[in-house]
């Protein structure tokens, strides 16, 4: 067999150690060595974005990163968001706005948009459209995804505006 190397990283808040070939992508290791199959693989050349995860808080194509590069880093996958019984505001907005159909591209969009919404307080429609254009969805035509991000940003903005009044 080909030589392997040991990689330790924090995945969704838990320490994980795997023995993998250097060529194994982070996407494959998350899915097949760690069983986190919510991260999907759609093109393996960085275009479709289905495999997007967060590494130290930044959105990353996990098909373009080798697991060995994640040594010592903190990785978050869709499994770190809400559960089916307790969805995150972004997940809930996606449901409300019919932002998914087959659901295959969905985890990648969720992770990318989670990072984006953490960086931008009040994104414009143009910024939202531009960031949603990072990933491919073949089912929805993006209409619901665009509305969902708008909804999260607006709801958060409204909550922020309410804050001083409550204080």
């Amino acid at each position: 067999m080909n030589p392997t190397t040991t990689v330790s990283m924090t995945v969704n808040g838990t320490e994980a150690t795997v023995h993998v070939e250097p060529r194994h992508t982070l996407a494959d290791v998350l899915r097949h060595d760690l069983g986190l199959t919510g991260t999907h693989v759609g093109c393996e050349h960085g275009i479709c974005g289905a495999c997007t995860v967060l590494v130290d808080g930044s959105a990353v194509r996990s098909c373009l990163m080798f697991a060995v590069q994640a040594e010592g880093r903190s990785v978050e996958t869709v499994e770190s968001l809400g559960t089916p019984d307790d969805l995150s505001p972004l997940q809930e907005a996606c449901r409300t706005e019919h932002a998914l159909q087959c659901g295959f591209c969905t985890p990648g969009f969720l992770m990318m948009l989670t990072a984006f919404l953490a960086e931008r307080d009040a994104p414009t429609d143009e910024e939202i459209r531009e960031v949603v254009a990072s990933n491919l969805c073949r089912c929805t035509g993006y209409q619901g995804l665009l509305r969902a991000v708008r909804r999260v940003a607006d709801e958060r903005g409204a909550a922020g505006r309410r804050q001083p009044a409550q204080a």
């Binding site: 494959d28 199959t37 809400g82 449901r95 659901g103 708008r150």
Partner: protein, 829 residues
């Protein structure tokens, strides 16, 4: 209608209901109290929470202990005799377990048959034998302990090809003395049909006031589900059968194809389908790779898995839509369409897909060209031409986007010739509301629709100005702005009669549904359709819950396991909600009747007086006299001894529905801006007015429409699989094969009309394909409207360079592109 610019959400009432929405209460159908009904509501999808939480289980998420991974050695040349294949070097690659060629599996393959004399029967081998007929054709298979090792192994396999001249296009294939893709198919004609309807066509054309000729062609594209094709086969020793987990739209058809190919009873193959990441038709046929996976697991007695990678998806997965149309239309002086003559060629690649065959494109193109227009004379020749390219399979809309492109282009060119507007000429020819049911020129019988109202609504929404001079010249210096329309009728849910008319040897069309209530009062629906994004777990539950008067969350869907559900045909051709929805409406109707009879017994009342609602059965008009449906279910199962002998003892009904076909309609309208300096096309507005009868869940209808339109935008402007003159594919990555992203699409404005059909138990018509059907024509017409007086484009995808060439040809500049002229983008400097 108001459209919120930020969200694209439409405001105000957008649905218009024609006629009586549906029968109610008295005859046993669901309650008429609108507050109680699930059908018609924008119910959130029950599928969403687990998918959003990343808990979906797609094929590559399955990995039984001991799974081996499969990779294919694929042909690197388009046409060749195989002089030798040596797999033995692969066996010394670390991790490789085995490698095989066709003979190791007894030369299995798939043969699609149309029982008509114009059809040439050919076999698609699972693995190539003595010849390869397209780049990407599987030649050998390597089995290894990981996908990495399997791919390493494929690089070690040695294949020697003796190349022969490839046939790469329609003209090359039809040329005298062209090389033959299949030795037994002269002229490379896999199907050649000529049909004629109506009398005196030639005389009519000769005497017509206007005869208009148009040609359009469409590039080869692919469905591109984000989850590619994937299969996992394991051998169930206890049941002595293959268990094939397949990312498919058609589990029973896969079972049939695999069993036939391997010479097994269908009971020796169980097909199980996990969550499917999109299909759009590409997964409604049987793949050669899944035959190989099934054969491998039987041979190796270990689970084997193949997951298509994106390069394979783009260079060997089924493709579609490479067609060209030459039309001659005769019009009278006021623009009335009198006759159409059409010549259609479809480049169908090297093989016929199973079971639909290459005829799926050829016949649909010929039969559905007349569309929503009154037409009494029609003659067509439609050919399926074999080439050394990847075979075609159905893709959302199949030939309709191209046929609509052709007839809608004919309408626009004729309108300009006659001097009337594009809306006016369509109004003049659309089938009118008082003409339904309308038997069209090829014999299809349209149920009631709203063809003219859809056009009028769309034109109004876009601000179309009636009577405007169609030859008006563009504003000097500005971007070129154009508006285009496409009207179409979408035949949905073909039944056995329609599929039988194609002469398929395997005739799909009906659907069965089992509706079962258990002792706790919860309901399981078992169907042969296969939801893969369409939200059937939600919409089917809406239908059943209305009939049984239970809450939505009491109804569960079971699909995708040939041992668990009744025989059915799967999800394709806009059929599921009509065919399976019809079957389960009938089944739940009958189950409701059983519940009423049990309730009548328990409440000592008359079954006809029992109402089912809110999870209770009660005497109509006396809601206090009632019993929980769950209690009826308990009695039916656990206390059947208290019931008369013909009641209870289980609660399960199976029903069948074989639709006669029902016809949705829509008008799409687009406004585009063309940059005359770069040729780029930007869609500024997109309005669709669609009528699919009763909408079970308008939110899901909107989602299907939007998704289809964006696929249509892809084929109109971006997507094309290009081959070079040697048959080498040039679009092997998503950098080259350009799928629309969020910045490439406008806010889509959707208006609904709702003309219920009397041909389905639910009043619903199919609608899954419509978005993809109308978009290319609307966009092409809009681009040509923008270019009016400066040239025209007749091929999709409309590349910016094509726009510039069209302008240059028209200007006669001979430079391939016009001189730069300053435009308003400059601003003041």
């Amino acid at each position: 209608m108001a459209v919120d610019a930020a969200t694209g959400r439409t405001g105000g009432a957008s649905a218009t209901v024609h006629g009586s929405p549906r029968p109610d209460g008295a005859d046993g159908a669901p309650s008429s109290d609108p507050d109680l009904r699930w059908v018609g509501r924008r119910v959130q999808r029950v599928e969403d929470p687990y998918l959003l939480a990343g808990r979906g289980v797609f094929l590559d998420d399955l990995e039984p202990r001991g799974t081996l991974h499969v990779a294919f050695v694929r042909a690197t040349v388009a046409a060749a005799a195989i002089s030798s294949v040596d797999v033995s070097p692969a066996l010394s690659v670390p991790g490789v377990v085995a490698a095989f060629t066709s003979g190791d599996f007894g030369d299995i393959g798939l043969t699609a048959v149309l029982e008509r004399p114009e059809f040439a029967v050919t076999e698609m081998p699972a693995l190539a034998r003595d010849r390869v007929r397209h780049v990407g054709e599987p030649v050998a298979v390597v089995v290894a302990t990981s996908p990495y090792a399997a791919e390493d192994g494929t690089e070690a396999v040695l294949v020697d090809y003796d190349e022969t001249p490839p046939v790469v296009g329609i003209d090359a294939a039809l040329a005298d003395g062209a090389p033959l893709v299949h030795a037994g198919v002269p002229g490379n004609l896999l199907l050649d049909v000529s049909l004629s309807f109506g009398d005196d066509i030639d005389a009519c054309i000769e005497s017509a006031a206007h005869v208009v000729e148009v040609e359009v062609s469409t590039g080869r594209i692919t469905a591109l589900p984000i989850e590619g094709r994937a299969f996992l086969a394991e051998f169930d020793e206890r049941a002595a059968r293959i268990v094939l987990h397949s990312s498919t739209q058609v589990p029973h058809l896969v079972r049939t194809g695999v069993a036939q190919a391997l010479g097994l009873d269908e009971s020796s193959v169980r097909v199980v389908v996990p969550d499917v990441g999109g299909g759009f038709g590409q997964k409604c046929v049987v793949a050669r790779e899944e035959l190989v996976a099934a054969a491998l697991c039987r041979k190796l007695r270990r689970p084997v898995k193949w997951v298509e990678d994106r390069r394979e998806g783009l260079t060997s997965g089924f493709q579609s839509r490479e067609q060209r149309f030459a039309l001659r239309g005769a019009f009278d002086v006021d623009g009335t369409l009198l006759a159409v003559e059409a010549d259609i060629c479809c480049d169908i690649g090297a093989y016929s897909c199973f079971p639909f065959s290459c005829g799926v494109e050829v016949l649909m193109a010929a039969n559905e060209l007349p569309g929503p227009y009154r037409l009494r004379r029609y003659r067509v020749r439609s050919r399926g031409v074999a080439t050394n390219k990847v075979p075609i399979a159905p893709y959302r809309g199949v030939s309709r986007p191209q046929a609509v492109l052709a007839i809608e282009r004919l309408m626009d060119v004729a309108a300009a010739r006659i001097g009337i507007g594009p809306v006016e000429i369509r109004e003049r020819n659309l089938v009118g509301d008082d003409e339904f049911p309308y038997r069209n020129v090829v014999g299809a019988c349209y149920d009631a629709g709203s063809y003219r109202e859809a056009l009028a609504t769309c034109a109004e929404a876009l601000g179309y100005r009636r009577g405007e001079d169609p030859s008006r010249s563009p504003r000097p210096g500005g971007p070129l702005v154009g508006m285009g329309f496409a009207c179409f009728v979408e035949p949905t849910a073909y039944g056995t009669a329609s599929f039988g008319a194609r002469k398929m040897s395997i005739v799909p069309g009906y659907e069965q549904a089992t509706v079962r209530m258990d002792a706790s009062g919860s309901v399981v629906v078992m169907v042969g359709t296969l939801s893969h994004g369409q939200g059937h777990a939600t919409t089917y539950a809406q239908i059943v819950a209305d009939h049984l008067g239970v809450e939505l969350d009491r109804v569960r869907l079971v699909q995708g396991d040939t041992t668990a559900v009744p025989h059915g045909w799967g999800t394709f051709a806009s059929r599921s909600l009509v065919a399976a929805g019809g079957a389960l409406a009938k089944a739940s109707d009958e189950l409701a009747e059983q519940l009423r009879r049990i309730a009548g017994h328990v409440l000592e009342g008359t079954p006809a007086d029992i109402e089912l609602a809110h999870g209770r059965a009660y005497v109509r008009g006396t809601p206090t006299v009632g019993v929980a449906v769950g209690e009826l279910a308990r009695v039916a199962h656990h206390a059947a001894n208290t019931l008369p002998p013909d009641l209870g003892r289980g609660l399960e009904v199976i029903a069948r529905f074989d639709p006669e076909g029902t016809y949705s309609n829509a008008t799409h309208g687009a406004v585009v801006e063309v940059d005359p300096e770069t040729g780029s096309v930007a869609i500024r507005r997109y309005v669709v007015v669609e009528d699919c009868g009763v909408m079970v869940n308008p939110m899901i209808v909107d989602g299907q429409v939007s998704g289809g339109i964006v696929q249509g935008i892809g084929s109109a402007l971006f997507e094309e699989l290009v081959y070079d003159e040697n048959g080498q594919p040039l679009s092997g990555s998503l950098m080259d094969y350009m799928v629309p992203t969020a910045t490439d699409v406008p806010v889509i404005e959707i208006h609904h009309l709702e003309t219920p059909t009397d041909r389905t138990p639910t009043g619903a018509k199919g609608m899954g394909e419509g978005g993809a059907i109308g978009a290319p024509a609307a966009i092409l017409n809009a681009v040509n409207d923008a270019l009016r007086g400066r040239g025209s484009v007749t091929r999709t995808p409309i590349r910016p360079s094509d726009v510039m060439t069209a302008i240059a040809v028209h200007d006669g500049s001979g430079r391939g592109a016009p001189m730069a002229v300053p435009t308003t983008d400059e601003g003041a400097t």
